[in-house]
């Protein structure tokens, strides 16, 4: 399985990824995937500028990310995928990427969002996407850093957003 981790994190590539996750997982390809980000040349330039030694960085729209991860080229790699929102995570799965766990990294506070941890605030829309992910039998975790618990996070989300 080339994709070892999928993280939903508004901050995309940042300190926690470059320092903590990179050393814990020995990443050799970081793929940032979000349709809007992939269309913004300045953001793509910046994301590629921070490539640590030995790590390849790609910025791809969701569909191309899935196509790449399923390609023979990806088989030899240890890929860490970063999406911006839960909706992106769901789109990866719906476009055919299979993985057993999706992780919530940072989700910033936005209007109407509810606090689930110090760095994860979710909106009703985000929870809808996470529910669909959960219903597909995929585990959800909430790990800002590699040392954080891998316990299933869906019950916490459900408790905070009762129907």
């Amino acid at each position: 399985m080339p994709v070892t981790h999928i993280r939903m994190d508004n901050r995309l590539i940042h300190g926690q990824i470059l320092v903590s996750w990179n050393s814990a997982l020995n990443i050799d390809h970081l793929i940032v995937t979000n349709d809007k980000v992939a269309e913004d040349p300045m953001q793509v330039t910046l994301l590629k500028a921070v490539t640590p030694i030995g790590v390849k960085v790609s910025v791809l729209p969701i569909k191309e990310c899935v196509e790449y991860c399923l390609s023979p080229e990806a088989e030899e790699e240890n890929i860490f995928v970063i999406t911006k929102f839960p909706e992106d995570g769901l789109a990866l799965i719906e476009n055919g990427l299979s993985i057993d766990t999706l992780n919530l990294g940072n989700q910033a506070f936005v209007r109407g969002a509810k606090k689930l941890s110090n760095s994860v605030y979710l909106t009703e829309e985000g929870v809808k996407a996470l529910k669909k992910i959960h219903e597909k039998g995929i585990n959800l975790t909430c790990r800002m850093l590699p040392k954080d618990s891998k316990s299933e996070f869906w019950p916490v989300i459900e408790k905070n957003f009762p129907e």
Binding site: H14, G15, L18, M42, V50, N106, F109
Partner: protein, 132 residues
Amino acid sequence: MIGIVLISHGGLAAGLRDAAEMITGEIDQLECISLQPMDDIDQLVDRIQEAVKKVDVGEGALLLVDLFGASPFNACGRLALAQQDRYELVTGMNLPMLVELVVQREGLTIKEASQIAFEAGKSGVSRLSDKI
């Protein structure tokens, strides 16, 4: 005179200012921004732009951040790339870098100031056993 904005994870920026002012006295045209776990990165970009407006009197501003590739760096990057003649971004901010900059900043262009910050930051790291 060029302005300075310090942007860090947590309270490092304000702490660095506090430390530098013990050495140089009160520092003008300087703003500090702290990134907290819950903060939205788009808002961080707005806060940086506001701070830059406050310190830039027409000669530009130097943006100092704590860690290459991290969120404060990413948030400044867009501004620094868009107006390269006016803003420079230097990473790995430390006390030698800031005090050297503050002491020398009068009359410097943004490019010169960034070079001084860069050199002072690097040469400010040393090991005692290499010095004796």
